[in-house]
Each structure stands twice: as structure tokens, then as C-alpha cells.
């Protein structure tokens, strides 16, 4: 095979590969689709907001972000908004993922490092949980005797709790490396009262309880704050 033919074959492979990558990216601004192996909906609507960011970086950010976000089991994101703020070579990203089946969105904060083209997750609040799962988690949390006592003694019954997804890497520190749900009641005021139950949605049981009224003393023993 001649050198020209080799070059032509390589060029053809590069073009096909580039086309494949391009087509594997989501639509709207790009007219692209998400990767088929993700749990993301093929018809997901991705919107990108950000000034002074070139198309190549945009495409790279979108691709990296979509690879990093995963909805709750059985949930599909219908809309993903990516807001980018340029910070020198890097970009701070706020990613809000909406699902038609959920009342609340999943919100992620990332930093995209321009030099290394690396995406780093900074923080997240994941509340895109189907209403029935949400209700079940609250019901399970209320059944925890410790939590029920704390709620009753601190008049938290009338407070609507938040239900948030806890990712396996965090859950491992408190129970097992699996997706858990955090059901949290917060009563604001001069002395806020917070009671949270970590719920295993598969087992339907509370696996850990935390309250800001319980403080660790020097001996490591838990005691109640005397508020």
C-alpha cells in the first residue's frame, strides 16, 4: 500500500471518528445526542449559557458534563441547563437537570479546567427524585423512633422535609456504597433545629440519624445540647 493510500485511510478513520464523537453529543445548540450507554434520554434538551466560550470548549464541556451526571434510578433528565462562568482559563459550571417526572431538579457545580480539559465536581444538591420515592423515603424516615422523638420534641412535624440523593461514595462513609436518600427537617430561627435520616430506599429502612442538637463532647460521647 502506498503512503498516499495509508494517509487517505487514516484521514478517513479520523473523519468518521470525529463525526461519531460529534453525533454522540447532545442537541439544541449542537444538534447532538447523548451517549447511548448513559441513562440520559435521547431527546434530552441541553442548553448552554456562557459568554465568550468557543465552540470547541463548549462541546468539550457538554460532553464531559453529560458523562458525569446520572439521574436517580428510573428517572430521565428531560432538560439540562449548563451555565458557564469563565474564570481565566477555567470555567465554573452550574448544571441544573430537570425531569418531567420530578418536582425538583438535580443541581451540580463543576469546574472545567481548560489546560487539562478536566471536569471536577465541586458540590451537588440532588433532588430529582420521583414523588412516590420521595414520599416513601419520608414515610420510612418518620418510622425511625429516634427521628420521630426528635421531631416531636422540637415541633418539626409541620416542616416539609427535603429529600436528597446521597451518592455511593458519600453513603459508604455512613452505611454502604450505594445510593441512599437523605430526609432532612430544618426549623430555622435563632437556634436552627435540624434532624436528618439517611434512608436506604431499597431496603425501606432508616440506616442513620443525625441532629444538630447532638454534639460530640470531648470524650466522644454524644449528648444533647441544652438549648
Amino acid at each position: 500500500m502506498s503512503k498516499k493510500k495509508i494517509v487517505a485511510v487514516i484521514a478517513a478513520v479520523v473523519v468518521v471518528a470525529a463525526g461519531g464523537v460529534y453525533l454522540a453529543l447532545p442537541t439544541l445548540e449542537h444538534g447532538l445526542s447523548p451517549a447511548p450507554d448513559s441513562e440520559l434520554d435521547l431527546h434530552m434538551n441541553v442548553e448552554f449559557f456562557g459568554m465568550g466560550i468557543n465552540e470547541e470548549t463548549k462541546t468539550s464541556i457538554v460532553s464531559e458534563v453529560l458523562a458525569e451526571i446520572t439521574p436517580y434510578k428510573g428517572v430521565k433528565y428531560n432538560k439540562v441547563n449548563i451555565s458557564a462562568t469563565k474564570n481565566g482559563e477555567d470555567h465554573d459550571l452550574r448544571v441544573i437537570c430537570f425531569s418531567d417526572a420530578c418536582e425538583y431538579p438535580d443541581v451540580y457545580d463543576f469546574t472545567y479546567y481548560g489546560a487539562s480539559k478536566q471536569l471536577v465536581q465541586n458540590r451537588y444538591v440532588l433532588e430529582a427524585i420521583p414523588p412516590n420515592e420521595r414520599a416513601k423515603a419520608i414515610s420510612v424516615a418518620i418510622q425511625n423512633e429516634d427521628a420521630a422523638n426528635l421531631m416531636r420534641t422540637n415541633s418539626l412535624e409541620s416542616v416539609t422535609p427535603t429529600v436528597r440523593r446521597v451518592l455511593p461514595e458519600t453513603a459508604e462513609k455512613f452505611y454502604l456504597p450505594k445510593t441512599l436518600l437523605s430526609v432532612t427537617w430544618t426549623l430555622f430561627g435563632e437556634y436552627p433545629v435540624v434532624v436528618s435520616v439517611l434512608v436506604d430506599p431499597d431496603e425501606g429502612k432508616g440506616v442513620n440519624v443525625w441532629s444538630n442538637l447532638e454534639v460530640e463532647n470531648k470524650g466522644g460521647e454524644m449528648e444533647k445540647n441544652e438549648w
Partner: protein, 447 residues
Amino acid sequence: MKKEEAKIEAKALVVLMAFLLGVFSVAAVAGQVAPPQPVLNLGAVVVGLEAGVAGHASPPTQPAPEVVSEQSEEEQQMDYKILQISPKHEWFELKPGGEKEFTVKVKNKDEEAVSTSPRIEVQPYGEYFLEEEWITVEPGSADINADGEQEYTVTVKIPEDAEIGHYSAQIVFTNDTMPTPYPAPFPMYVNSLSLSIQVWEPPKIVVQPQYIHDRVKAGQSHEYEIQFENKGDKAIAISPEIGGEERWHGPFENTIPEGWLTIDAPAKVEANSKATVKVTVNVPIDAKGRYESGINLNIDDPSIERWNQEVHIGLEVWKQPTTPFREGFAVKQGDKFSVVVTAGQHAYDRYGGGAEEKEEPSFDVTLTTPEGGKLTSEPSKTVKKGEVSLGMDYLPPWEASSEGMYHAMSTEYSETYEITNATGGAWTLDILPRNAERFEYTIEIGE
């Protein structure tokens, strides 16, 4: 003469005997009527009490034979072996059909070998009793040498048809029992492990909400829905009725009279389906204050704890004030003054991008001049002030990943009214708040 002498001798002998008899009689009588010695008597009572407590009537100085006998029995009872058993108590949860294995370490700290043959003892108290055949302990027997240690493997298998509830039993390693000063109804085994198992299963039915809290207006009707979802394969009967205070302990300021509540519920929730129970509350026109009640759902699902069978209803009957708050103040002729009225609103339900948006507070403010003229002008300035947390101070440890996200904590609304070149004299400020539980005002006179 000899006869007379003999008579005299006989008389003397009789007199002597009579004298001796008299002396002995007096002595005997005197001994019988001798006055009681109080100290001795008290001592006798005390001794008697002590003996009674000990179960014996003999004074301690002269112990009765049976005391000696019981002491030796006690000494015999004290002569038991004490093994170091770890854990001494074991508690866990299992579902029907579930199985769990754990290890028990038994150390013999004595100088002699001890024979152990673990067995299950079920004491007749507790909610449910663990059946012997549910528990196996391996090895079935072992001799533990002095300072030796033996590990046992305990396997608990809960049958599929076991009832939901709290089960207990003891795993007894030796027959040694704790001596008790009184007869014990059941032997207290010294070398035993207490086993408690909560047999549970996830509720097949989900109820939401379990708390209805609302601020309602007197004279109005309000309808609430309780959603049921049966995730099981069989229909589950429900029979909601007013009552049930297992979980929500009173006393309450007011209990919602039964006549206010109407419950519209299906008789059952079909398998793998949802159902709605409607609760209608008719609040009479003369109601005021806080009212509480409960609805016992009577769900025929043993996996639901008793206190989760209830939905609590808390209603605050709110009457919008119609008479304004009034405050007087004095200004000098030509002064400039301002009135700032502020009301705060904590995030509560709005926390975390929450569901229910509350109506924003507002105020009807009227200023009355010294001449009696009423000024009801629009505020010259309105301010909305918010407090936002980054979650550092109140998030549970498993939500630490959301630190740095913004969480709206509270919002404050204020309205400013300004008067320039005021008429000197006594002014009156009237404030009628709307959608506010409390408010603050500031009257600032002068530049």
C-alpha cells in the same frame, strides 16, 4: 416424858419444813413477778426483727440450726463459674425468612476447666418468643480450659411465616444461676447471652402525608387528601377513623371536634395501586386558636408500626385582624419623619426550592395628622431582604457535598412611609398587617 419429847421434836420438824417451804415459795413468787428489763426486752424485739428478715426467729448469738444450713446452701450457690461472654447482648433486625450468623467468644477466666453446652432458654416475657429450632449454636458443647477461650457460631433463621414483632431469648452456656434472696419465678442464668431480634418487613403500603398542618379561616371548609400506595401483591384493607393519639401526645389546646371532620375513604387499596382518602374539615365561624386531632388509618398491614397508622391534623384557625395596631407619636412643626414597617418570613416550606410559596406580607398603613386628617399614601420605598446560607452550619454530614450551594433561609419585607414638613403635634400611626405573623415598626423623626 419420851412421848412429849417425841411430839415436840415432830412439831419442830413440821415448823422447820413449813419455814423452808415458805422461804422457797416466796423466792419462787418473787422470781416470777420480777419487773421486766426494758433493755433486754428491746433487744429481744430487735433480734426478733432481724431474725424475721432473715427468715429465722433465733437470736444471732445462738443461731438456729437451719440458719447454718441455709448459709451453707448460699455458699454452695455462690460457687458457680463466671464466664466472660462477648457479646453479652445481641440485637438485630431480620425479615421473615431471613438468616443471620454471629460469633460469640466465651473466655474461662477461672483456674478450672468449665464444661459448656449452649442451649436456648425462652423466658416468658417479651412480645414474642424465639423458637428453639430457629437458633443453632455450634459447637453443641465444649470444655473450656482455665484461661481458655471458645468461639461459638450462632445462626438465627426466621421462618417465612413468623409474625412481625420483637423476639427475645437467652443462649445459656452453663446451668449456673444467680442466687436470689427470695424465690425467683425464672432462673437467672449467669453465663448467658441475651438475644433480641426485631422481625420486620418493609411496609407494603405507603402513606403520605402523615401530618396535615394548615392555617385555615373560620367559617370555611377545607379538603385534604391522604395518598395511599399499595406496593404489595394483595389488596390491603383500610378503615380510617377519627382518633388515635399513639404518636401525637396531647394535651392539645383544642381537640378538633368530630363533627368538624368528614372522612371519605375506600374500604381497601388494591394490589399495586393507589387510593386517596379525602378528609374534609368544616371550621365553624366561631372557632379560633389551634386545633389538633388524629386519624387512625386502621391499615391491615402488620408491617406498619402502630404509631405509623396515624395521620395527625394540626389546624390553626386564623382570623385576619380587622382593627389596626395603633401607636401615637409627637413631631415638631416642619419636621421630617419616616415610618418603616417590617415583617419577616422564614423559608420553612420553601427551603430547598420547596413547594409552597407563601403570600408576601403587606401592610395597610394610615397616618393621622394632629388635625385628624388621614394620610394613606403609598410607601415611598419597599425593600425585600433575604438571608442565604451556604449550608455550612446546618447540613447533615451526608449532605456535606452540597455545602457551598445557596439555600434561601428567610426573607424580610419592609415598607417605608415618609412625611416632610409635618404639622407639629400628636400623630397617630395605624398598621393593619396582612399575611404576617408579626411585624416591627420604626418611627424616625428628623434628618
